[in-house]
């Protein structure tokens, strides 16, 4: 397992994406699956910065990647506010343009892009998001 810790800032997103891209390729994911993991991780990191920490520069994001038999596992750990993913409603899709509101697609995309997603808050107050992408 490879682990890198990034500052919880938007300008870390590109480095995180590069780290994920390399891991996905090393794990044998194709271009489409690699992009899916990059997008899911980007959305998850933005959720951590915006919602768990409530802003940039408040805390770190620990990012781990692990290649398994059938694909790639990405684990993101933060020390921000925990939340309940099951309480986040799916966004309303296919609304008329003027009714579309800029929120709520991050988690929906993460679930759609990845094959398995789980979230837990540990007793030491760290939040752990585990995402799996299988090889196609």
């Amino acid at each position: 397992m490879d682990t890198v810790t990034f500052p919880g800032r938007y300008d870390s997103l590109e480095s995180i994406s590069n780290f994920i891209e390399k891991a996905a390729k090393d794990a044998g994911l194709d271009q489409k699956a690699t992009y899916a993991v990059q997008l899911a991780v980007d959305e998850a990191c933005c959720n951590i910065i915006d919602h768990a920490y409530g802003g940039e520069g408040i805390g770190d994001i620990q990012c781990s990647v692990k290649t398994g038999k059938d694909g790639l596992t990405v684990i993101l750990i933060d020390r921000g506010q925990p939340y309940s993913p099951e309480n986040v409603p799916d966004p309303k899709l296919n609304l008329p343009l003027e009714k579309v509101k800029p929120r709520g697609v991050g988690l929906y995309l993460i679930r759609k892009m990845m094959d398995n997603v789980s979230y837990a808050t540990r007793p030491d107050s760290t939040n752990v998001l585990t995402m799996v992408k299988r090889r196609s």
């Binding site: 997103l13 899916a36 343009l97």
Partner: protein
Amino acid sequence: MDITTTQFKRCDVIKAAGRVDSSTAPGLEEAMNAIIESGRFKIVFDMSEVNFMSSKGWWVLIETQKKCKRYKRGEIVLVAVREEIRSSLDMVGMGSYFRIFDDVTSAVGSF
């Protein structure tokens, strides 16, 4: 991310290269708003060199589309959208808000 804007008679062409994420989307928004604030509402967004776009980037496009389409005064159309970006846009039903062209010439010609 590099952004260039070119003004044509019928429309403005804006081209970005690289990643559009939470870090770079504000720059794209600024460039879009600069065109709109100059009273021009027909925009071609050349995405041929955009290799990544998160939902933060999509919201910039959605907000720009809302402003352009208000009073039926214009529209933003997209050019050469990478397949992975397009399928993620479609996944959240946002692809339907934009006409997408293969090249800049046909997009400009659509106005």
